[in-house]
């Protein structure tokens, strides 16, 4: 086993983690709320804001994955059962996949629906696919399914972190907390 003296994630990894978390916690309920509102300027604004947040998550997620690949993460506590280590790795990999795939599916869906994404109303993103009604409807289902998968995984992720912190009283959560929060 690799010996790793790191106690915490790097400040960059911690910042990206919490920024992505915050943005997802805004974008997800926004998406659920806005999708079947009657058409109004308010709805158009919400859709744009949702997309801007999504693009931001996508960029942060890509950055974060590069950072994760190029920087060592702190090792898991030595006494952790093997199945928990495996479960944690699998969950983390899926979370990384989804924080990229969810906004990507939204971007593609938007293009297929015929609405280009213009980040903050300033930077137009290329339409990777052209307008296509069938594909647009399919991508709605894909976007939704990926989102609810993300919700389930985030639920597990949070429960696991809280269990480690409050029941096992180990370092798992503290490794990812900013400003030395939770340190005794």
């Amino acid at each position: 086993m690799q010996v790793n003296s790191l106690q915490k994630y790097t400040m960059t990894a911690i910042s990206l983690h919490w920024w992505i978390a915050l943005l997802i916690f805004i974008a997800f309920p926004l998406g659920v709320y806005m999708h079947d509102l009657p058409l109004s300027p308010y709805k158009l604004k919400l859709f744009s804001w949702h997309k801007w947040i999504g693009v931001t998550v996508f960029l942060f997620a890509v950055l974060r994955i590069f950072w994760r690949i190029s920087h060592q993460a702190p090792a898991l506590p030595a006494g952790l059962p093997q199945w928990q280590k495996l479960a944690s790795h699998v969950t983390h990999i899926l979370l990384y996949v989804l924080i990229v795939a969810v906004p990507l599916s939204g971007w593609l869906m938007s293009s297929a629906k015929g609405f280009q994404t213009v980040w903050f109303g300033i930077l137009p993103l290329p339409d990777l696919i052209s307008k296509d009604r069938e594909l647009g409807n399919l991508l709605v289902i894909v976007h939704k399914t990926l989102n609810f998968s993300l919700l389930a995984l985030v639920g597990m992720h949070i429960m696991a972190a809280l269990k480690h912190h409050f029941i096992d009283k180990d370092v798992i959560l503290r490794r990812m907390l900013p400003f030395n929060l939770g340190e005794k």
């Binding site: 058409l39 629906k113 015929g114 109303g121 307008k131």
Partner: protein, 189 residues
Amino acid sequence: MSRIYIKHLALIGILLLSGHASAVEFNQVVADKSSINFGYKQMNVPLEGKFKKFAAQIDFDPAKPESAQAKFEIDLASIDTGSDEANDEVVGKAWFNTKAFPKATFVSTGVKPLGNNRFEVQGKLTIKGKTLAVATPFTFKPDANTASFDGAFTIKRLDYAIGEGEWADVSTVANEIQIKFHILAAAKK
């Protein structure tokens, strides 16, 4: 003597040319090869739409642009904004109110040459009961027995009360609407 001869030749040439030009008058609009599209911005996102049904009458002789005429009648309910949701919305009262105002019309009042096969047509555009003077440049492209007329101009939707109430907010749907037309017409038979 040879100078007089050249002068005559030149004169005959001019007569032939102008005679040829004025004989070609384009007045048979080919509906399925003509289109009226529009571009607009929604939250700064560029979008395109079109009117699927319209009637156009034109009478254009490039040699006599001042006597050219054009009349368009656009079936507003045939609008395609690019999304079903918006198509249902824009026929309603706040937008075109197509029940009360089913058609938009454009009637030309004059055409002037701009040179290089470019012209400008002035006319009156009526939408939703409001009539305003508009002008648009267009390019005339003759090709055997047909000719195409291509041009674009911008109108402000609020000038015609297109999008009232909460929709009057131009920060979501921009005020400027770009109208692009491509008209194909055959020569008079």
